[in-house]
């Protein structure tokens, strides 16, 4: 961020600081928000929200790089009025050796500390102390799966879980040879409680299927045909790049290296109040395989997965609670151009029948997004589906496309998780002059007016952000109960209770800055 841009953001912020936004007078609900604006760095998706000073309010942590200062975490502390300062309250230098950071309650001092991950070890650091001296503490050694830091960017681990319910955060860290589960304790103590590989060690390397053919793409120049795109299928072999010559004149790199392993995810798979570990790899039958390592009552894990099940690994495979029982289910999404097939596999006490989905749904459209939301908060969630269609007539006549929002209620009918027909459908036309409304999907995860029901919060064609109530029959209200017309275009927005008052607050992401609307009495 340039000094010039930061100055202009600061000026606008100063203006906003004196301003308390109130919902439009024509609207029904009276919501008051304190508005603040801060400059966004290069990585808006990496802005973290945590309580860094222990006052119970979430602060903003913005990663930043400059040629002069290198990598920093800029911390903006929220004040009791729900406002954020235009300039960072704290600067935390990130030393060149650090690859990633995480935030966790580690020390007795109020607020969260930083966990710093290098390629070989983990350290803690308080952001309240403006120096590494008498602050940085080595915690334990761990060969992280990534060994080289990025010069400009700091990676992060998301909010760290307490996996065993002892009120201390624990760590599930990918390493060079597999994952390590570290139990957290008092006084910043972490102990390696379990190490495991997400690669199936039982498979002989020669048995591991190599997947489809490799494609060798080249663009050839042909005097008769001009550019000729040539894509050639190469055989799969475990000996790819195995043999080479020392003096290869085509060498263009100092170093090329990579190391990857299947990701492990923590989740409570069997309703025993502690988190388990789930990962996917290739099974002994050469099929895809989901593995569950259940955490025992003593906090330990078995050497081999407690449950395994074969699954076709084509498509996106996610852990999402679709049934509302608090346990993650398996969602598999397979796309074929604009045809989508979604399979639901319900969690049956930490096991799945992966050969037979509990429900299959099909959709037709582009850029399908799925989410599950419990609009009434009654444990019977709804499926939200959004996609785009491009009717040729619309495109030619009015240069517009259609965004469809569908809601499916949960169902108790046999063979159904959700109703087979949408209980609500909204088709919106977006033409070229309404492109601002396309930047973000309708948000259905938050209760803005505090009535206990989720609301539909969306950007309108004019770029205004508005909230509508959702009725019992899942229909959106015709008119919004709240609307805000931002002074800058909103590229995306997020909703989160930032000050602990139980009312959702809004974070509006602009091109170079973000506006925070924090509810006030």
């Amino acid at each position: 961020m340039s000094p010039h841009r930061r100055a202009s953001c600061a000026a606008l912020s100063a203006l906003l600081a004196g301003l308390t936004l109130t919902a439009s007078a024509s609207l029904q609900a009276q919501l008051n928000f304190a508005a603040s604006e801060i400059a966004l760095g290069e990585w808006p998706d990496d802005v973290l929200r945590e309580d860094m000073d222990g006052d119970g309010r979430l602060d903003l942590i913005v990663p930043h790089w400059s040629a002069e200062a290198g990598r920093e975490m800029l911390i903006y502390l929220q004040d009791e009025g729900g406002r954020f300062p235009p300039e960072p309250s704290r600067h935390v230098e990130i030393k060149p050796e650090i690859i990633a950071v995480a935030l966790a309650e580690l020390r007795p001092a109020p607020g969260k500390e930083l966990l710093l991950f290098s390629g070989t070890g983990v350290f803690s650091l308080s952001s309240a102390i403006p120096s590494y001296t008498d602050n940085l503490r080595p915690l334990f050694d761990w060969p992280l799966v990534a060994s080289v830091p990025d010069r400009r960017r700091v990676l992060y681990f998301p909010t760290l879980p307490d996996m065993n319910g002892d009120s201390f955060v624990d760590l599930l860290l990918p390493g060079r040879d597999g994952y390590g589960f570290f139990k957290g304790g008092a006084d910043e103590q972490f102990a390696l409680a379990h190490a495991f590989s997400t690669v199936n060690q039982e498979l002989d390397p020669s048995e591991v299927p190599l997947g489809g053919a490799r494609l060798d793409t080249s663009i050839a120049i042909n005097e008769q045909e001009g550019i000729v795109l040539n894509v050639r299928a190469l055989g799969t072999t475990v000996f790819e790049d195995f043999l080479s010559s020392w003096q290869d004149s085509t060498q263009t790199t100092l170093l090329e290296a990579q190391h990857w392993l299947p990701a492990a995810i923590f989740a409570n798979m069997n309703d025993d109040k502690v988190l388990d570990i789930v990962f996917m790899n290739i099974g002994n039958d050469l099929y895809g395989q989901i593995n569950i390592l259940e955490q025992a009552s003593d906090g330990g894990f078995a050497d081999v997965p407690d449950w395994r099940g074969p699954i076709d690994t084509r498509g996106d495979i996610r852990l999402v609670d679709v049934s509302g029982d608090g346990l993650p289910d398996v969602l598999r999404i397979i796309d074929n151009s604009n045809e989508w097939t979604v399979q639901f596999f319900l969690n049956k006490g930490g096991a799945f029948a992966l050969d037979q989905p509990d429900q299959v749904m099909r959709f037709s459209g582009y850029d399908l997004t799925l989410s599950v939301t419990d609009i009434a908060g009654d444990g019977r969630p709804q499926l939200s589906v959004s996609y785009y269609t491009i009717p040729v007539v619309n495109a030619v006549r009015t240069a517009s496309i259609v965004r469809s929002q569908l809601l499916y209620a949960s169902s108790t009918a046999p063979g159904e998780v959700f109703t087979t027909r949408p209980d609500f459908k909204l088709d919106e036309n977006f033409s070229a002059d309404a492109v601002r409304g396309l930047s973000s999907q309708i948000h259905l995860q938050s209760d803005l007016d505090g009535d206990g029901r989720k609301d539909a919060i969306a950007l309108g064609p004019d770029g205004a952000i508005a909230a509508r109530a959702i009725a019992d029959n899942l229909q959106f209200a015709d008119t919004p109960f709240w609307q805000h017309v931002p002074t800058r275009s909103v590229l995306r927005f997020d909703v989160q209770d930032m000050n602990g008052d139980g009312i959702a607050d809004l974070l509006l992401y602009h091109s170079t800055a973000m506006t925070l609307l924090v509810s006030t009495p």
Partner: protein
């Protein structure tokens, strides 16, 4: 991650032959022998943890040896000349070095002396980013390691990796060291007395892709891929000394070499601050976007060219900022940025510039490319129907010291493309074609020179139990045009209108399968070699090992948890 259950390739092939439905061309069976005429067959097994083989003449006897790299060990198998035990003995390596450390970057060099001061082919390793060790090779053995440099703070990735860090930067016959740091490269120039000059630190835009966690998605991996580009070294001021050009997102730095004192200065001889240029041009802001002219965003772009314009053998500097092109004159001592020699301004949306001799007078001319305005409405329209964008090139001829004030020629390239919907469906078609390949056996093939006739290219095919050789089956490689872009347009000086039709690419797109094999379909191989064990996911690769004009052939048969097995077909000199 493998997508679905797979079947043994051999089984697929056999079944396909029986059914006659395979996409694999049918091969004529051949009378098979235990070896190929003129070749010795050397079976080998290698330790299962062998990660790669490198071909190198480590004992400088003119015969290529095999260096094997394992998880913690580097070994050499020397090739013996015309003796009773000619060839290789793969039962055990002739010499090995165990590499201990969490991070080892290794390289080979012939430009380091051994303890007696004699140049010796050596293995070098950057160990744990802290020190560089050298193992000279004496009498076909790795000698005890020598410490070349210590006290370093480097990042060379975890594990054992080839690191091209030993290189003669200043053309003095001594290898220097390029040590990767956190986003930087430290250049250590070696003096004749084996000491090193004060290291020069230059920034490097490493390509790092790291994923550390997944929230929900089970099919993804975590890990890191890393690519560190080599430094660019070339003489830019006609003093016959390689100069250093360092480009990052923020800076364009040139370090001019010097024969006296330190080879490179500690600060750049001249620089362009790309951050400052971007600050001046303005950063992208959605609220400043002109929806009726999205390509107007090109006004925020810039590019830098370091190339000799005036023909004095010294590189000059062409800086494009939006539609403004400035030419700065280079000299033997640097670049005069105080006053541009020339400034050209172009209206419209300037896409790019490059230097290329258009009028065939031996001097590079300036080509300035502009693209027409594209609106949001156009984009919406192109979602459903095909479109076209005109890109125009204006050629400013080189007049010696600078370019002509006005372009001498204008070319138009019409870029025609299908609708986004069509593109998407085509992408799916391509994906389906690729997926269908899973059901097709792609046989390993290699093009080699087996006969010793230089112009002849032969085809080797690796079947489950046989290697087949088709002599003279392949055409000589096509000659690559010097200027591929202009050649792709079928460019000529007499024509100013061109077209690139992306629709044609899509219509004609097809993934070639077993394309080499199709050339020998129905043909009986000249030679066939029976394999003593079945090939599983193997490969065949050719290399010249004994400088007799004929390629030698590595046949890799299988890799298991116990060993790697294969066969070397070594030509008889």
């Amino acid at each position: 991650m493998t997508l679905c259950r797979t079947t043994s390739p051999a089984r697929v092939l056999a079944l396909a032959f029986l059914l006659g439905t395979t996409a694999t061309p049918s091969l004529v069976s051949a009378q098979s022998a235990q070896t190929l005429p003129g070749y010795n067959s050397l079976p080998f097994t290698l330790p299962a943890d062998t990660e790669r083989l490198l071909l190198v003449d480590a004992d400088r006897d003119g015969l290529t040896d095999v260096l094997s790299v394992a998880a913690t060990r580097i070994s050499l198998y020397f090739q013996r000349g015309a003796t009773a035990s000619a060839g290789f003995d793969f039962t055990a390596p002739d010499t090995s070095v165990t590499l201990e450390g969490r991070s080892i970057g290794w390289e080979l060099s012939e430009n380091y002396p051994d303890t007696q001061g004699n140049r010796a082919f050596s293995l070098l390793a950057l160990v744990d980013g802290a020190r560089v060790l050298q193992w000279p090779i004496r009498e076909r053995q790795f000698a005890a390691p020598l410490e070349v440099l210590s006290g370093l703070a480097a990042f060379a990735g975890a594990g054992v990796n080839r690191l091209h860090f030993s290189r003669d930067i200043n053309n003095d016959g001594l290898d220097d060291l390029i040590i990767p740091g956190a986003g930087t490269l430290q250049l250590h120039i070696r003096n004749a007395d084996a000491s090193y000059q004060t290291p020069l630190s230059v920034q490097s835009d490493m390509q790092i892709n790291t994923t550390l966690f997944m929230r929900q998605n089970l099919e993804r991996d975590v890990g890191q891929s890393l690519r560190i580009p080599l430094v660019a070294l070339r003489d830019v001021n006609r003093d016959a000394l390689p100069d250093l050009i360092s480009e990052t997102e923020e800076r364009f730095d040139v370090f001019l070499a010097s024969v006296t004192g330190a080879y490179f200065p500690q600060t750049p001889s001249y620089s362009v601050d790309r951050l400052e240029i971007r600050e001046r041009l303005g950063n992208f802001d959605f609220d400043q976007l002109d929806f009726s002219n999205l390509t107007g965003m090109l006004a925020l772009t810039h590019e830098e060219l370091l190339q000799d314009v005036d023909g004095d053998g010294i590189d000059d500097f062409v800086l494009r900022e939006g539609g403004k092109v400035s030419l700065f004159a280079g000299s033997a001592t640097g670049m005069d940025f105080s006053q541009p020699r020339q400034v050209l301004r172009s209206g419209g949306n300037v896409l790019t510039t490059f230097l290329h001799d258009e009028n065939e007078d031996g001097r590079p001319d300036l080509w300035l490319w502009r693209v027409e305005s594209v609106s949001v409405g156009d984009l919406f329209l192109w979602l459903a129907i095909a479109g076209s964008i005109n890109v125009e090139a204006f050629v400013y001829p080189n007049e010696g010291e600078s370019f002509a004030r006005r372009p001498s020629r204008q070319l138009t390239v019409a870029l025609k493309f299908p609708s986004a919907v069509r593109l998407l469906s085509s992408a799916i078609d391509i994906r389906e074609q690729a997926r269908a390949l899973e059901e097709t056996t792609i046989l390993p093939t290699e093009i080699a020179q087996m006969s010793g006739v230089e112009s002849t290219r032969d085809l080797l095919v690796l079947l489950e139990d046989q290697v087949q050789v088709f002599m003279g089956a392949m055409d000589p490689p096509a000659v690559v045009p010097e200027d591929r872009f202009l050649a792709s347009l079928d460019y000529s000086r007499s024509r100013n209108e061109y077209e690139i039709d992306i629709r044609r690419f899509i219509d004609e797109f097809e993934i070639e399968q077993n394309s080499e094999l199709r050339r020998v379909e129905g043909r009986t191989p000249e030679h066939a070699l029976t394999l003593t064990e079945a090939m599983r996911n193997g490969d065949v690769q050719a290399a010249s090992l004994n400088d007799d004009g004929r390629d030698d052939v590595f046949v890799f048969l299988s890799r298991s948890r116990d060993e790697i097995s294969g066969l070397l077909l070594l030509s008889e000199p």
